[in-house]
């Protein structure tokens, strides 16, 4: 059977008409990303593990220094001057810094994450106390006690949003497209329309293509609003082109759609589609490198990370938004991987539709 773009267009038009009428889903598509963003943006801004502490050593506090170096949760970065420390904190690269001098110990803290600031201040105070106790037992004459001065730096707000924002854009599109597509195909089955298509000139390829086209319009709407929220509300930079970012999201959305179509074969009801969330969505969130860098994912799981589309989409979106990458820069491996993922599941989805025939 030869494939006709017209028939795929007929399916696309129908899908658009249906979604257009589904106000609740449209509301979800537009507002859920905003809610998610706020949730991720604020609730997670106080991440405690892997605190990076700058250290400017002006001498006189060997004990305090070795105490700070010994704390496992702290990554200590040695800096030349106080101004370097200030700059790095305001850029969000450091969580705080200790400036050690013979007369004074200055603690520079990032005002945007008070939890981390509290942890750093406590560590410095504990270190200073330990140092003094050590000197006393050594029977050394105590000089004038150095003062500890705390100073807050108001620098970069919600620095985590920078790295997470672009990835959330991908996550939101993937999640909703997958769920909506799986449910749409479940309905085609239960309504009897799928069986009717099987006995019509409409081919499986035309049908799935029509769905990809129709859903793409809503993916665009959704990614455009999400992109707007991420950049306008949360001030995540958009250094590359918005069109490039949307292209990445569209390709990811197409992959999520065919994946949803494929998995709809394994669910009997809309309710069962929801049960796919822990199976399909959660691993992507955990392993795609949004929250934890891929380098920290155990090596035996890492190949799995590289099989997930969100890994590539998140990487590409970060490159476009934060580093200003163009299409050419993300072609390999990101767009290529997303394209391959789409093609594999497009084929799988159309083949599974064939298996309807008993």
């Amino acid at each position: 059977m030869s494939h006709s773009p017209e028939r795929a267009g007929v399916v696309a038009l129908r899908v658009i008409r249906q979604l257009k009428r589904d106000r609740r889903t449209i509301g979800l598509i537009v507002f859920a990303p905003i809610v998610l963003m706020i949730l991720f943006g604020y609730a997670l801004s106080g991440d405690m593990s892997g605190v990076t502490l700058g250290l400017v050593d002006g001498g006189g506090h060997a004990g305090l220094r070795s105490h700070l170096e010994s704390i496992q949760d702290f990554d200590v970065l040695y800096l030349g001057s106080e101004s370097d420390a200030e700059r790095l904190i305001s850029e969000g690269q450091l969580d705080g810094a200790a400036v050690l001098g013979p007369d004074e110990v200055q603690v520079l803290l990032d005002a945007s994450s008070l939890q981390i600031a509290g942890a750093i201040a406590a560590a410095v105070q504990a270190g200073a106390a330990k140092e003094r106790a050590g000197l006393e037992t050594a029977g050394r004459q105590l000089g004038e006690e150095s003062a500890i001065v705390m100073r807050y730096i108001f620098g970069y707000d919600l620095e985590m949003m920078d790295t997470v924002g672009p990835a959330i854009l991908g996550l939101v599109v993937f999640f909703f497209t997958f769920i909506n597509a799986a449910i749409a195909f479940i309905r085609e089955r239960s309504q009897g329309t799928l069986e009717k298509f099987m006995v019509s000139p409409l081919s499986r390829v035309e049908m799935v293509s029509g769905y990809v086209l129709g859903f793409s319009l809503f993916t665009l709407l959704q990614s455009a609003t999400t992109l707007f929220v991420v950049t306008a509300l949360f001030k995540v930079p958009l250094r590359g082109s918005a069109l490039t970012a949307l292209a990445v999201v569209l390709l990811l959305g197409a992959g999520a759609l065919v994946l949803g179509c494929f998995f709809s074969n394994f669910a009997r009801s809309e309710f069962q589609v929801v049960q796919f969330i822990p199976l399909i969505i959660t691993p992507q969130i955990v392993l795609c490198g949004i929250w934890w860098p891929l380098q920290s994912v155990p090596e035996f799981i890492r190949p799995f990370s590289y099989m997930l589309p969100l890994t590539y989409a998140a990487h590409a979106l970060r490159a476009v938004m934060l580093k200003g990458a163009g299409i050419g820069d993300i072609l390999y491996p990101d767009l290529l991987a997303l394209g391959i993922f789409f093609l594999i599941f497009f084929a799988a989805a159309t083949l599974m539709l064939r298996r309807e025939v008993g």
């Binding site: 267009g9 249906q18 009897g192 069986e195 019509s200 000139p201």
Partner: protein
Amino acid sequence: MGMQSAISARGVTKSFGRQRVLDNLTVDIPSGVTYCLLGPNGSGKTTFIRAIVRLLHLDGGEMSVLGRPVSEVDKIYSQIGYMTQHKALYPDLTVQENMEFYAGLYGLYKQQRVARLDELLRMVDLLEHRGRLAGALSGGMYQRLSLACTLIHEPKLLLLDEPTVGVDPRLRQTFWDYFERLTQEGKTVLITTHLMDEAEKCQMVGYMRAGRMAAEGTPEEILRLAGLRPILRLWLAEPERDAALLRAEGYEIDVVGGVVLVRLEGHAQIKEVLSNVSPLDMRLAEPKLEEAFLRLSEAA
């Protein structure tokens, strides 16, 4: 397998697990007729229809559809209208949008589509409901819309699985008139139904039982096969005498409570009977197809 047959099946079998659903079924459905498949639930009617459109593969036997082997039936899907027991509509689209969608699938656009939509909407009496969401229609309306969508591409072969469920009698008659018009144009209509009075309207009836064709023919032939004949009830001034007279003429006669019952060979015999006796009153009791099938199932 001549071109006269719209569908021709020879020794067709299909099993689901250990259950034989079609058991060496042989049937010819001529072109240009309404053919009714009757039979109890699980007798294989729906399985047979699904096999015709290749929604399932046969285990054995041969079948041709519109002159082509069933393995090539996907090449002539545009000539087949298939209406399942599921209505195959989108409840969140309007009546018109549902029809436009199906019209598009079969390559009907613009003026051609507009004209066809109007004609069908009028036939199924949904013209003034075209803007309503299909999900808001009553059961019968939904059914009518489903039929209209099945007819949209003017198929040569119509396969209708229980098409008149929930449709009121007046509109049902409209459907049957429409089907008759289709057969006059040379199209073939294959219908499954539980309703005997509908079967009586078909030109041919096949009675399926346990995956086989238990009886097949015109409704009259089926009645005769079951040994059922129309009965003429006569109220006569002298029943005993006239009964004897008719018996002498060779008629099968019963007298029940003073009423003379004549078992007819056919309707033509009514005139002959009346040339022998002059009843005060009379009534003709037609045998029911239902009765015939009950008898046939008992016999089998």
